[in-house]
């Protein structure tokens, strides 16, 4: 089935089964590989994107259900890696292997969009779905706090 998605402000027409998870449409049909496959059951957060501003696991969202919605992937978070979360991630040096970091950054950006100064429990609650096997968690906490400062500077 052919339909059009609004991805990072661009109209993308795809031809896939309507139930295809948005994750695979983004990666294979549109070629936006920054969004990662990790588990396919919404338990690792590597595929986190924004749908109408809400953090969403792309592996559990049927592509046809995203029609008419504003989809933002890591590639569309900013034009030049200037989003406060991206700046803080570089400054603190968060990523190691980096595979989970698109999802981490998208979850963090969504958190800061709704809470300017999140508390530690709020950070933990917002990020608990995002697994990191390299163990960058303590730097993620630090970087979210730093991003909050950058955003308000």
């Amino acid at each position: 089935m052919q339909f059009t998605l609004n991805v990072n402000g661009k109209a993308e027409t795809v031809d896939v089964e309507p139930e295809t998870p948005l994750l695979w449409v983004l990666r294979d049909a549109i070629g936006l590989t920054g969004t990662k496959y990790g588990c396919g059951i919404a338990r690792c957060g590597a595929c986190t994107i924004h749908v109408d501003g809400q953090p969403t696991k792309a592996c559990q969202l049927q592509a046809s259900a995203a029609v008419g919605k504003k989809i933002t992937t890591i590639e569309g978070l900013s034009k030049d890696s200037s989003h406060p979360v991206q700046q803080a991630w570089v400054e603190i040096g968060v990523p190691q292997c980096g595979y989970c970091q698109s999802g981490q950054i998208m979850s963090a950006a969504a958190l800061l969009a709704r809470r300017k100064n999140p508390t530690l429990p709020e950070i933990e609650a917002a990020m608990a779905d995002n697994l990191c096997r390299c163990g960058t968690y303590q730097r993620i906490v630090k970087a979210i706090r730093r991003a909050s400062e950058i955003a308000q500077a």
């Binding site: 896939v16 089964e17 295809t20 998870p21 695979w24 990666r27 294979d28 049909a29 936006l32 590989t33 920054g34 969004t35 990662k36 496959y37 990790g38 588990c39 396919g40 059951i41 338990r43 690792c44 992937t73 890591i74 590639e75 978070l77 900013s78 030049d80 890696s81 991206q86 700046q87 991630w89 570089v90 400054e91 603190i92 040096g93 990523p95 190691q96 292997c97 980096g98 595979y99 989970c100 970091q101 698109s102 950054i105 950070i123 933990e124 609650a125 990020m127 608990a128 995002n130 697994l131 990191c132 096997r133 390299c134 163990g135 960058t136 968690y137 303590q138 730097r139 993620i140 906490v141």
Partner: protein, 733 residues
């Protein structure tokens, strides 16, 4: 264009613009060459003159360093560049990097010496030739200038990319061509004295970070090439089962489905990872392939392996603890005799389950077989092994195989040997289908079919003397692995128990190599990761039974070993370790040596009356001799601690009916952000000749430190993992 050109200049400049004062600097990315394009015929994008295999210098002074190793999160890309740049003496903010060519390495008789990245060896063991490449190039540049200027080489100074002698000056770029023709009488010595380093030893931002915050970093799983098809694979759920039949007709009319391909097992041998009996479904998209595979009727034959279980292995392991095993090192019959005759004996039996790598990037590979060449995109820790693996599978000349280096979505020891059997699968399928194919193992397949960390059991016994210190120690351990731990080598299989430093008058260690059908492999800090827990919990049992403070015991038992004393004294000073905290709170210590580095940990925990464990803080103190980049070194220590605590607290991969049953992140639990401890890392560097590894050693002491802390908090002695399976409730007495 699989090359990734990385320049530090962009974010360093931006850091100035942002006002500075920040730990590592902002970055504002410039054009990032980070896409997967058509296969490069030429594998270099560097412009300029090649001084040697590692270094290319352009006329304008631009220096491109070729990185033969893998960046899997450990900062290896940056470490290699730093080691070369230290000796070459170039402006760190101006360097560029590209991945070295594995095909060239093999063609030219291992030109890069070693391409494998494992065993915390990159800095520890490869620094002589990496620093040597920089030093050699520098001296050749100086020689070229000396000849042109009519002075002696010793009068030429090379600093930050500029050659100077008296009032003459030139950039490296101006003498690059001449330097390439210079042959030195004698290769220069490298400088290993940290006090004389100008670049190494200070915290440096990683070169890969800008790519890893905007989705542009390319992993093998991101490979996209024209005409590529996708395959999802299912191997026998019970490893080494045989594929009896499958019914392709049931799925052949599904949209996009191209073929089903049967794959036959290749018995494993070191360096050529196994290919299990499996069936692949090939389609025009991964989702279509994966969905069709789930619907494909498949029949397997499992044989006796289907009776195996974790519980059965534990029972067998404990039985083996009563039988003589292979003696590691020197036999000392007195150890057992003294224990048998002693009035005061301490004994502990320990066990730990299978664990799995669960790299965040699922196991995958892309291969394009063409008549004249084969291209491979594999998440491997050894590009040259990937070339040989594919050549072996296809029976082609390795000279026609090109492996393209990609960022790895985690390594942890699991991507050695060319990237596991998936690379063989992709090669085989591409050959049969005649198209480039990307194989991705669904996460359930990744956890079930990965090469697992072997299940282990150990029993330790000691006799205590009148002073409460051990007079004899007798230990046995068993690993359940496919070929009796041969895959990780005999020495490391004893790591953690056999190599303890404690001066005990009589000691004997024996190992059993029990077999299982479960494929196994190295996992971060092999050997030490399982046995280190057992030894270091037992040390606390011995110390407490003998009336000793566990930290004082370790200090006493390592007297005269300066580096161990340095680490333990630093731990004592910085941790404030104490054993008299109120019930429900506890501190615990442990120390394990691996990969040439001594690592001590102090855990601070709280346990609620209802048994809820919180790991409040982990302090790790390490002696790796020297640290070339404290930033990445610290990250590795934080990560290693997190890795080990993930397994020790939450983990446990369970085998039942011959197959693994908790194969996704809903049932195989990993540490999450709300469970982590604050990890503080301190380097207590003894210097000297020591070059220790840092990618793994901080992990092994973490679980025993936590278990020892739990004892002080609850009075409960933990001798197995995961901690979550223990009842930690306590009451005031």
């Amino acid at each position: 264009m699989t090359k990734q050109i990385l320049s530090r200049r962009s974010f360093l400049q931006a850091s100035v613009a942002a006002g500075g004062g920040l730990m590592l600097g902002f970055h504002m990315p410039v054009a990032l060459a980070a896409s997967i394009g058509p296969r490069p015929q030429s594998t270099t994008t560097a412009v300029g003159t090649e001084i040697n295999a590692w270094i290319v210098i352009d006329k304008d002074g631009t220096v491109t360093l070729r990185i033969p190793h893998t960046e899997m999160g450990q900062g290896g890309l940056t470490s290699v560049a730093l080691l070369i740049a230290e000796e070459l003496n170039v402006d760190w903010s101006m360097i560029k990097t590209e991945w070295a060519d594995a095909n060239r390495h093999l063609r030219n008789n291992k030109e890069y010496k070693v391409m494998s990245t494992h065993g915390s060896q990159l800095v520890r063991l490869q620094h002589p030739h990496l620093m040597g490449a920089g030093a050699s190039a520098r001296e050749r540049l100086k020689q070229a200038a000396a000849e042109a200027w009519g002075v002696d080489r010793s009068q030429v100074e090379a600093k930050l990319g500029v050659l100077t002698a008296g009032n003459r000056t030139a950039t490296y770029g101006e003498f690059a061509e001449a330097a390439a023709k210079v042959t030195l009488d004698k290769e220069p010595e490298i400088n290993t004295d940290p006090a004389k380093w100008w670049l190494l030893g200070k915290p440096r931002q990683r070169l890969d970070i800008p790519h890893k915050v905007n989705g542009s970093a390319q992993y093998a799983i991101d490979t996209r090439i024209p005409g590529m098809v996708y395959a999802a694979v299912k191997a026998s759920p019970v490893p080494w089962g045989t594929l009896k039949s499958y019914n392709f007709d049931a799925i052949k009319d599904r949209p996009g489905v191209i073929a089903a391909v049967p794959l036959k097992a290749v018995p494993g041998k070191r360096g050529q990872p196994d290919l299990q009996d499996a069936v692949a479904v090939v389609a025009d998209s991964y989702y279509r392939a994966k969905t069709a595979l789930e619907l494909l009727p498949v029949e397997w034959e499992f044989g006796d392996s289907a009776k195996a279980s974790s519980e059965g292995y534990f029972a067998e392991g404990h039985k083996l603890m009563e039988q003589k095993g292979l003696v590691s090192g020197k036999e000392d019959p007195k150890a057992a005799e003294i224990i048998a005759a002693s009035q005061k004996v301490v004994t502990g039996s320990y066990q730990r389950p299978f664990e799995t790598h669960a790299r965040m990037e699922p196991i995958n590979a892309t291969v394009h077989v063409q008549p004249d060449r084969v291209d491979v995109w594999s998440p491997t820790q050894d590009q040259s092994a990937a070339v040989l693996l594919v050549a072996d599978q296809l029976k082609v000349d390795p000279k026609t195989v090109y492996a393209h280096t990609m960022f790895l979505g985690g390594g942890f020891g699991g991507n050695g040997g060319g990237g596991t059997g998936v690379t063989r699968q992709a090669a085989e399928i591409s050959k049969q289908i005649g198209k480039p194919v990307k194989v991705i193992w669904p996460r359930e397949e990744d956890l079930a079919q990965d090469k697992q960390r072997p299940l282990a059991v150990a029993k330790l016994s000691a006799a205590l003397g009148d002073d409460g210190l051990p007079t004899a120690l007798f230990t046995r351990a068993v690993w359940f692995s496919q070929d009796g731990m041969n895959q990780i080598g005999g020495a490391t299989a004893d790591y953690g128990i056999y190599n303890i430093p404690y001066k005990i008058p009589h000691r004997q260690h024996e190992r059993h190599n029990a077999k299982t059908h479960v494929p196994s492999s190295t996992h971060r800090a092999p050997g030490a990761n399982q046995l280190g827990f057992m030894a270091e919990v037992f040390v606390d049992e011995m110390a407490i039974a003998g009336g000793w403070d566990p930290l004082e015991w370790r200090l006493k038992m390592t007297e005269g070993l300066d580096d161990w004393q340095l680490v333990l004294k630093t731990l004592k000073e910085k941790s404030g370790f104490r054993t008299d905290l109120p019930k429900g709170e506890g501190m615990g210590v442990a120390v394990v040596e691996s990969h040439g580095t001594i690592a001590a940990a102090c855990a601070t925990v709280t346990v609620s009356r209802r048994g809820r464990l919180n790991i409040e803080k982990m302090l790790v103190v390490l002696d790796a001799g020297r640290v070339i980049n404290p930033h990445t070194a610290t990250e590795q220590c934080e990560g290693s601690v997190c890795w080990e605590l993930s397994h020790a607290w939450m983990g446990g991969l369970e085998l039942a009916n011959g197959r693994f049953i908790n194969t996704n992140f809903d049932t195989y639990n990993l540490l999450r952000i709300d469970q982590i401890a604050q990890v503080e890392t301190i380097f207590a560097s003894s210097g000297g000749k020591k070059w220790g590894g840092l990618g793994e050693p901080a992990g092994p002491p973490a679980p025993p430190a936590v278990a020892n802390a739990i004892y002080y908090a609850t009075g409960k002695r933990i001798r197995s993992t995961p901690f979550r399976s223990h009842d930690l409730t306590w009451a005031d007495v």
